[in-house]
């Protein structure tokens, strides 16, 4: 029944990518000029892809909802980017990076893709340095590395706590150079609201100009989605306010399958929620776990005294502190993977040992590190993060431990893609966070930046040529054709329908309500009864939204409320699919923790016999249940085992 063919090249895993590149078709430079490519999104994946494709000679149109490509949310990534350079001589290799990524993902990622990712990782560092990305250096002038969760080697390159910013500005500079050269045309302040298919192939998009409200038609020979993750389905997340699933979701509605939607990453170190008006959550880089020690009081009487502000955290003696990660996972300690650290924090807070005014927080303490390394050394490593924390919370981490709690951060699920990063729609590609491919059920720290840039700089530019080589005789498309007209009309109708629903409730209110359902029933821990309840509540919410949302202002002007409404309408549908996916996966793996399936020690219990597959969902219509397709995962290189970080 499956329509999924990952098209993985034959041969040993280490040679697949070389073999693929040798055999794939090429497009000669004269023909590249005649081929148009649309790229949606200007984060690490989108900007690097658009720049690289423009440089190759294709005509590229790149879209972003922000006012400039440089603001895409990759900019907020803090900690670093992994690569198998082995500069520290501590035993790293492409194989080890591959192995750690598969294991970290709890054996739910595709071996061939991950191996390729590890192989191209080193080229990324070389390119970024050549672009002028100011990575951290030793006094020798050479590059330095740090360690990150889920790994026992130091393979993470970083630029203080602003690695994403520096990498994105590198990609943005490459993109700007291509814009100046005329190979790339920028469409900023645009929301891409639909895909256009001609004879079953992706041939363009319908976009809304956010300033004028104009509905635009854009044609191309291939379309690349790089619109990032969908963490904002939870309303509160570390994503930017505008981050959305809409371009990917419109592709899903047109036939691209959506894989593992329930695989979301809850990041362990975020600033806790402060109140009802809260609009977003702020991440504190995982790199802090290199030097910070996580603890809660071991005694309930100290918890109470802390809450009543009778004592300070530093008043609690060492013996009365529970460094629960060090206690439970002596081998990895505070550097266990994110899913494990998050669940352990929830476990302590659920048991009543949480700190802070809400009791939903744990300490991340730097006192030992400051004593050991000195104030200045800590400042040079984490200065901007400490400053950021102090601005938000009005407490200095130099003087008192940080308070942190897990928050929604990254989505491993996304559009299903094959080895070439093509979705199930021919000519439609998905790269970076918006595809599902490399992180399985849990992403390791510093691997998102690596994947985004790997896809955009070094994978897609090869694989898209293999498709476009067959398109050199296809003339440019006329956007007056019936396919474009119908798609544009559907978008206009949908906007009018939302605008005229005549309700009283604001978009944000619906979004908050959706977020609460998702966090409660499809967050860090899930169970069958809760998921059933979530389905019921989401269906209700969807009906209320259709009749009850209030949109001030018009459609032909700058109108943030209509922008948000389109995004939230899609998030509601996506939420339902996430719940269905979480329900069908009757096992625990990585970030997907089903309470029914755990070991006696409370760890995730996989079921490899029945669930070692990628669950890809096919859209069957607005009111029909989506259909599940399975891509069985083959593990030829790595033996599946219970993940252990003890």
């Amino acid at each position: 029944m499956t329509r999924l063919n990952a098209r993985i090249p034959e041969g040993p895993v280490a040679e697949k990518w070389t073999a693929y590149k040798s055999a794939s078709k090429l497009v000669n430079p004269n023909n590249k000029r005649k081929l148009d490519i649309i790229v949606i999104g200007t984060g690490l994946a989108g900007a690097s892809a658009a720049a690289s494709l423009g440089q190759l000679g294709y005509n590229v149109k790149v879209f972003c909802y922000q006012d400039t490509p440089r603001r895409a949310h990759s900019i907020a990534a803090q900690g670093g980017i992994n690569a198998a350079k082995n500069y520290p001589n501590d035993g790293d290799s492409a194989y080890r990076l591959f192995y750690d990524t598969i294991k970290g993902g709890d054996y739910r990622a595709r071996e061939a893709n991950v191996y390729r990712l590890a192989q191209v990782s080193n080229q990324i560092i070389d390119l970024c340095v050549a672009q002028g990305v100011p990575f951290a250096r030793e006094y020798s002038g050479l590059l330095t590395n740090r360690s990150f969760g889920g790994a026992q080697v130091s393979r993470t390159f970083y630029a203080r706590g602003q690695t994403g910013q520096q990498l994105l500005l590198g990609a943005y500079s490459a993109l700007s150079r291509q814009i100046a050269a005329g190979t790339v045309k920028l469409y900023n302040r645009r929301d891409v609201l639909d895909m256009v298919l001609v004879d079953g192939k992706a041939r363009g998009v319908i976009a809304r100009n956010l300033v004028t409200g104009e509905i635009e038609r854009h044609a191309a020979h291939a379309v690349v989605l790089a619109n990032g993750g969908y963490g904002n389905v939870f309303f509160l997340s570390t994503n930017a306010m505008g981050s959305n699933v809409t371009p990917a979701w419109s592709a899903y509605r047109k036939g691209a399958m959506f894989a593992n939607p329930s695989f979301t990453q809850i990041h362990p170190t975020c600033i806790p929620v402060h109140g009802d008006a809260q609009s977003k959550l702020t991440l504190m880089s995982e790199s802090l776990r290199n030097d910070g020690r996580i603890w809660v009081p071991a005694k309930m009487k100290d918890v109470e005294k802390l809450r009543n502000k009778e004592i300070k955290p530093s008043d609690i003696p060492e013996a009365d502190r529970d460094y629960y990660l060090e206690r439970r996972y002596p081998a990895f300690g505070n550097l266990v993977p994110r899913d494990v650290a998050s669940r352990a924090a929830k476990e302590r807070c659920d048991a009543g040992f949480g700190v802070g005014s809400t009791g939903v927080a744990v300490f991340l303490d730097f006192a030992d590190a400051i004593k050991r390394k000195g104030h200045d050394a800590i400042d040079s490593l984490y200065g901007n993060l400490f400053q950021m924390y102090e601005q938000i919370v009005a407490e200095s981490p130099y003087e008192t431990p940080m308070m942190i709690y897990p928050a929604v951060h990254y989505t491993m699920g996304g559009l299903w893609v094959d080895y070439e990063l093509m979705t199930t729609i021919p000519g439609l590609y998905a790269i970076g966070e918006c595809n599902f491919s490399d992180h399985g059920a849990n992403r390791l720290g510093a691997s998102a930046l690596m994947q985004g840039l790997a896809d955009g700089y070094f994978v897609l530019p090869y694989t898209i040529g293999n498709y476009l080589a067959n398109e050199i005789h296809t003339p440019r498309f006329d956007t007056a054709s019936s396919e474009f007209t119908l798609a544009a009309q559907a978008v206009t109708d949908r906007l009018k329908q939302i605008k005229n629903s005549g309700g009283k409730e604001s978009v944000d209110n619906f979004h908050r309500r959706l977020g609460k359902i998702m966090w409660e029933y499809c967050g860090m821990a899930r169970n069958d009864a809760g998921l059933t309840e979530a389905l019921y509540q989401i269906t209700e919410l969807r009906q209320e939204f259709a009749k009850g949302v209030k949109i001030p202002g018009g459609l032909d002007e700058y109108n943030p409320e209509i922008e948000k409404a389109c995004r939230v309408a899609d998030f509601i549908e996506l939420g339902e699919l996430m719940v269905r996916d979480a329900q069908q996966r009757r096992e625990s793996c990585g970030g997907h923790f089903r309470e029914e399936y755990q070991t006696s020690e409370g760890e995730a219990l996989r079921n490899d016999d029945e669930f070692a597959f990628v669950g890809a969902w096919e859209y069957k219509g607005r009111d029909a249940a989506a259909g599940l397709h399975r891509e069985e995962l083959q593990f030829n290189e790595i033996k599946l085992s219970q993940r252990s970080y003890k």
């Binding site: 400039t68 440089r70 900019i75 002028g132 402060h274 001030p552």
Partner: protein
Amino acid sequence: MNFTLKIWRQKNVTAKGEMVSYDVSGISPDSSFFEMLDTLNQKLITTGGDPVAFDHDCREGICGTCSLYINGRPHGPVKGVTTCQLHMRAFKDGDTIFIEPWRAKAFPIIRDLIVDRSALDKIIQAGGYVSVNTGGVPDANTIPVPKEKSDAAFDAATCIGCGACVAACSNAAAMLFIGAKVSHLALLPQGRVEAATRVQKMVACMDEQGFGNCSNTYACEFDCPKGISVANIARMNREFLGAKLFSEKERVIKESL
């Protein structure tokens, strides 16, 4: 906490704008400035009003989207933070707060508090990069960079491109923005190769886009949320002068041949 807000309202670039007064109440001191504005907008939406448009995205001080001129200062009264990182505890209960857009000829207003800053993109497109292609670059460690230089380049590279420097300047100059990019790349061996042409192209584009000249008041540095130093402007001027003199010398030599 309760506040009176005086907010600039303007329908579009050609419409006439005005300051309009609003009251907000029950705001937590731990709320961010935008969460306070969210509260106002929710009230406006449900009571049939017209919500205030403002630019914002990451809400963690790094994307550079936010751009409010609060009580006469870009990003408000707290030094070293963007508007999104400004919290209401920075104000006193009962305060009247004035909120305006960035004001500069090169930044036309789109709506209310939102301005068009694409002129800054144009300046980067003019030369704010190392002209390196994807592929065919040397191993990263074959380019050693002295740590002090690398750190100084990093400091300049932390510019978030928000345009506060332009809004702060009485001449609406973008020299801190350009100085930061010129310095970032000129300090690194990778960027030295094109340093002379880069600075000339970027400065020429700056003039074209309608930015003014440096006012020498250091207001830009004072109001920069990332603390970018005016030393970067000095370095840009040095690079610019050097490039001009050098190109003049080259011209004379060529003509004498």
